[in-house]
């Protein structure tokens, strides 16, 4: 026969929704008060959680920045077709114009032997070497810029096709290292996911252990509460809020660490980029990433609390 509350004990006052809101408001301030009453311990735990959250977030940001850099380089990807000596300027110009009409080619520019020599003088800093030679050793070049929308395979197929032309002595494309970089970044991305999962488990354990100690410290209180009829959900709620606060505080610590790290790296990264004539700047976390860090921290905090409290509450019975 189910337990029936006696008529006198029927709950008066607010409806169930208002009661839930009242309960949460009470526990919100109660758990916050407990946290504030022990700021040292809370900050220490939050710092550990912050490190665990900041590490994968920093790796994720690094991968994002490298990907952005690689994407920028892909726009400037060029295929250099070095022409045979017997190909005259008119034929070279005609070839370049024919390339422009090809599918997958954004731009094709013919550089005569004189132009390549001039460019070499200007950019290499070894112009005097050319003066020592009897004749200009540099060949004429057609510089082809593939359409950026083309996939790596399509660009490679185009390069092979053009390199096979009888007028072409040698072709050279800086794509291989870019592909290697992108593959490496894909691997690093996976590693970041794995590290995130492992550190997520670490956050669960940290929160769980902190709350386990809290549960032990409040064992007598829990026993009394059970004695007077508190259901597990009632006893559990302050601990869930505790986990939530720790996760939230930890995520703020993580964001602070990221901000400090970015501030430290911003200037040297910009200086390095300037050396390569690039306006690249290290990009911080976007709104989505910030929300992910905060949401992840809170979720892990609550999950860690739930996991620990559920395990320990069942073991505590009034004696």
């Amino acid at each position: 026969m189910p337990v029936r509350p006696n008529a006198d004990m029927q709950v008066e006052g607010p409806g169930w929704l208002a009661r839930i809101a009242q309960d949460h408001a009470r526990v919100f301030f109660f758990s916050l008060g407990k946290l504030v009453s022990q700021p040292g311990a809370a900050l220490l735990t939050a710092a550990v959680i912050g490190i665990a959250l900041a590490l994968p977030a920093a790796l994720h940001l690094a991968v994002n920045n490298f990907q952005r850099l690689a994407y920028g380089w892909q726009d400037e990807l060029q295929l250099s077709l070095f022409l045979k000596d017997e190909v005259d300027e008119a034929r070279g110009q005609a070839l370049a114009e024919s390339f422009i009409k090809r599918d997958g080619v954004k731009q094709a520019r013919y550089l005569s032997r004189e132009q390549t020599a001039a460019e070499f003088r200007e950019l290499s800093g070894f112009g005097e070497v050319l003066d020592l030679l009897e004749r200009n050793p540099l060949p004429a070049v057609i510089v082809v810029t593939p359409d950026a929308s083309r996939s790596a395979d399509q660009v490679e197929a185009l390069a092979k096709e053009l390199a096979a032309l009888p007028e072409v002595e040698l072709s050279q494309m800086d794509q291989q290292w870019l592909q290697r970089l992108q593959t490496l970044l894909t691997i690093v991305e996976r590693v970041v996911l794995l590290v995130s999962a492992l550190l997520g488990v670490a956050v669960l354990v940290i929160v769980g252990n902190t709350l386990r100690l809290d549960i032990e410290a409040r064992r007598d209180e829990i026993e009394v509460m059970k004695l007077i009829g508190a259901p597990d959900a009632f006893i559990r709620l302050p601990f869930l809020y505790g986990g939530c606060w720790l996760g939230l505080l930890g995520s703020w610590v993580a964001l602070l660490m990221l901000a400090v790290g970015l501030a430290v790296l911003q200037t040297p990264a910009a200086q390095l980029a300037a050396l390569y004539h690039s306006d690249f700047a290290v990009q911080g976390p976007g709104a989505g990433t910030i929300l992910l860090i905060i949401g992840g921290g809170v979720l892990l905090g609550v999950a860690g609390a739930w996991w620990t409290v559920s395990r320990h509450l069942a073991a505590i019975e009034p004696s």
Partner: protein, 237 residues
């Protein structure tokens, strides 16, 4: 004809790892609105009987029925709701020392989700009844033993329970305070709360005129009542 609120039928109980049965076929009934004293020597089974009623233990054999609920059939999730209908008072008070008197008394109402206004009204009424309204902001540790016990009583009755259980409630109190606590139980009983008090304070209860159930070696002594209790107080049993 009175209606049984509590019914023990051939109840046996043995603690895990214990040498023998603590309760050996207890038959006992408490009617709705009745006040009963449970007496017996240490180890006779008084506290065990109260533990079974509070669902701190479950009987090994026999049946314990409270307000129509067979306690053996209550699931774990139903235990809190059952306990909410019972007020419990302990020898060691079981108060939360990091909360005020008001918060201690309010706890059962908070658990049940009463509104702030209701909580304030009921807690103050309960504290007024036990004479501690002026100490509502005090911490339990700053109160005397008698005052702490009265806070415990206020907490037990604030939800107007069906049944009030008290295990040696005067064990830590001086005679004057013990008498005051017993009078409080009578006042609650006067307004319809059933009361079951396990006690050694024979000199106190003999003047109160309520039914006495005497336990000896895990059994209810039939028709023993005051006579057996008195022999206990004289050290004969």
């Amino acid at each position: 004809m009175s209606q049984a609120l509590v019914q023990f039928s051939q109840v046996f109980h043995r603690y895990p790892g214990g040498n023998g049965d603590v309760l050996k076929g207890v038959d006992f009934q408490l009617d709705a609105g009745e006040m009963v004293f449970l007496t017996g020597a240490s180890g006779a089974g008084k506290s065990t009987l109260l533990r079974l009623l509070a669902l701190l233990s479950r009987a090994n054999r026999g049946q314990v029925v409270v307000a129509g609920n067979n306690l053996a059939q209550l699931k774990r999730g139903q235990v809190p709701l059952y306990r909410q209908q019972i007020g419990m008072i302990f020898q060691n008070f079981n108060l939360l020392n990091d909360r005020s008197v008001f918060d201690n008394v309010a706890l059962p109402l908070v658990i049940r989700g009463y509104s702030h206004q209701d909580i304030g009204r009921r807690v103050r009424a309960a504290l007024d009844t036990v004479g501690l309204l002026h100490r509502e902001r005090a911490r339990p540790a700053t109160l005397s033993g008698g005052e702490q016990q009265r806070v415990g009583i206020a907490r037990a009755v604030v939800t107007k329970p069906l049944l009030l259980l008290a295990d040696e409630p005067t064990g830590n109190l001086d005679p004057v305070m013990a008498q005051e606590v017993m009078r409080l139980f009578e006042r609650f009983n006067d307004v319809g709360v059933s009361v079951l008090v396990a006690t050694h304070a024979i000199d106190l209860i003999e003047r109160m005129g309520h039914r006495i159930v005497h336990l000896e070696d895990g059994r209810v002594v039939a028709g023993a009542g005051m006579e057996a209790a008195s022999r206990l107080s004289l050290g004969v049993l």
